[in-house]
């Protein structure tokens, strides 16, 4: 390392970006991707196809699915260790 230190605005921006990265993605990128997927599917159902009933049912089911997949993924990773 050269030991050069960034200016404080650069460090502030880097710190801010790192905070949001850790906050939203961190060690569970699958949940971030799942949330984007849920928004996409519900937008398709509600805004494009105008199926409100389907959107009401699908949104919580996709959340449950995302959570289950993430938990099972963690369980698998723990077993490998």
């Amino acid at each position: 390392m050269s030991g050069t230190r960034s200016s404080w605005p650069v460090r502030l921006i880097k710190g801010f970006a790192m905070f949001w990265w850790d906050f939203l993605i961190g060690d569970t990128p699958e949940l971030f991707v799942a949330a984007l997927g849920i928004i996409g599917v519900v937008a398709l159902l509600r805004i494009v196809l105008q199926w409100n009933g389907a959107a009401v049912v699908v949104l919580p089911l996709l959340c449950i699915g995302a959570l289950t997949v993430s938990v099972r993924r963690a369980q698998g990773a723990t077993r490998k260790k």
Binding site: I39, L59, I64, V71, A74, Q75
Partner: protein, 254 residues
């Protein structure tokens, strides 16, 4: 800001912010107590106070500013953030309850920090290290609460109510923490984290749907339906993992 009757949405908002603030405050208090006991109280309390003021300024500045964002976009962004954050909390709580992840041990964290701070040399009267460690501890733990206060508060136009709920939690944990001192490990942190996770995913689902123009049957009574549904799923996932792990352990046993 307090307009309208007390709905399920308001109750869930107050409970979610209160419990989340309690959890984060316990974690922050562990750091402040470790700093205070090892390097003196003056700098530890100064660092904590400056952090709390900075957090309050963030709420005052960003709370009203975010309200100006168009409602549909605001609900969608807030819903997505709450959904991701809530699922992260819930996942962690499920893994801890089912034994796949170690419980958050405040005693161990306290002891580790104390030994690190002692190794850093003799404290001085105006201790920069104590100030910085206390400030960072309170600020970083509190930042999550600020995001919850702003997102939950602005989505329901109740920033003041959300702020008051967080403030009550901060004062309550602070007072109780000082009285019981090193018994913070007795706080049922994981159960609280699980409850907050359920409530945040419920809120996240609701506001994501609102942002996408979904008409929920029963309006915000749907929040309660979500809370019951996600609580049941959480219980099932914990039970399922425990059963799987027990079966695996029995198969591997000689």
């Amino acid at each position: 800001m307090f307009a309208g009757s007390v709905s399920s949405g308001v109750v869930i908002l107050v409970v979610a912010v209160f419990l989340a603030s309690c959890v984060e405050m316990v974690e922050a208090l562990t750091i402040v107590l470790a700093v205070g006991h090892t390097r003196g109280w003056r700098s530890a309390l100064e660092g904590s106070a400056v952090a709390l003021v900075t957090l309050a300024v963030l709420v005052v500045v960003f709370g009203p500013a975010i309200v100006r964002v168009p409602t549909g976009t605001l609900h969608l962004v807030i819903g997505a953030i709450l959904l991701i954050f809530g699922m992260q909390w819930l996942r962690k709580a499920i893994l801890r309850s089912s034994g796949l992840k170690a419980m958050h041990d405040e005693d161990a964290i306290y002891q580790k920090l104390v030994s690190e701070l002692k190794a850093a040399g003799t404290p001085v009267k105006r201790d920069r290290l104590a100030f910085v460690v206390a400030f960072k501890g309170v600020f970083l733990e509190g930042l999550e609460v600020v995001i919850l206060v702003i997102t939950l508060g602005t989505s329901d136009h109740r920033v003041l109510l959300a702020s008051m709920s967080a403030l009550v939690a901060v004062v309550m944990v602070g007072v109780v923490g000082v009285i019981v001192a090193k018994q913070l490990s007795k706080v049922p942190e994981n159960a609280m984290k699980m409850s907050v996770g359920v409530l945040l995913v419920s809120y996240g689902s609701f506001w994501t749907g609102e942002g996408l123009k979904v008409h929920w049957p029963g309006s915000d009574a749907m929040l309660l339906v979500f809370a019951v549904l996600y609580a049941a799923v959480t219980w099932l996932l914990v039970a399922m993992i425990r059963r799987n792990e027990t079966a695996l352990a029995e198969r591997l046993a000689p």
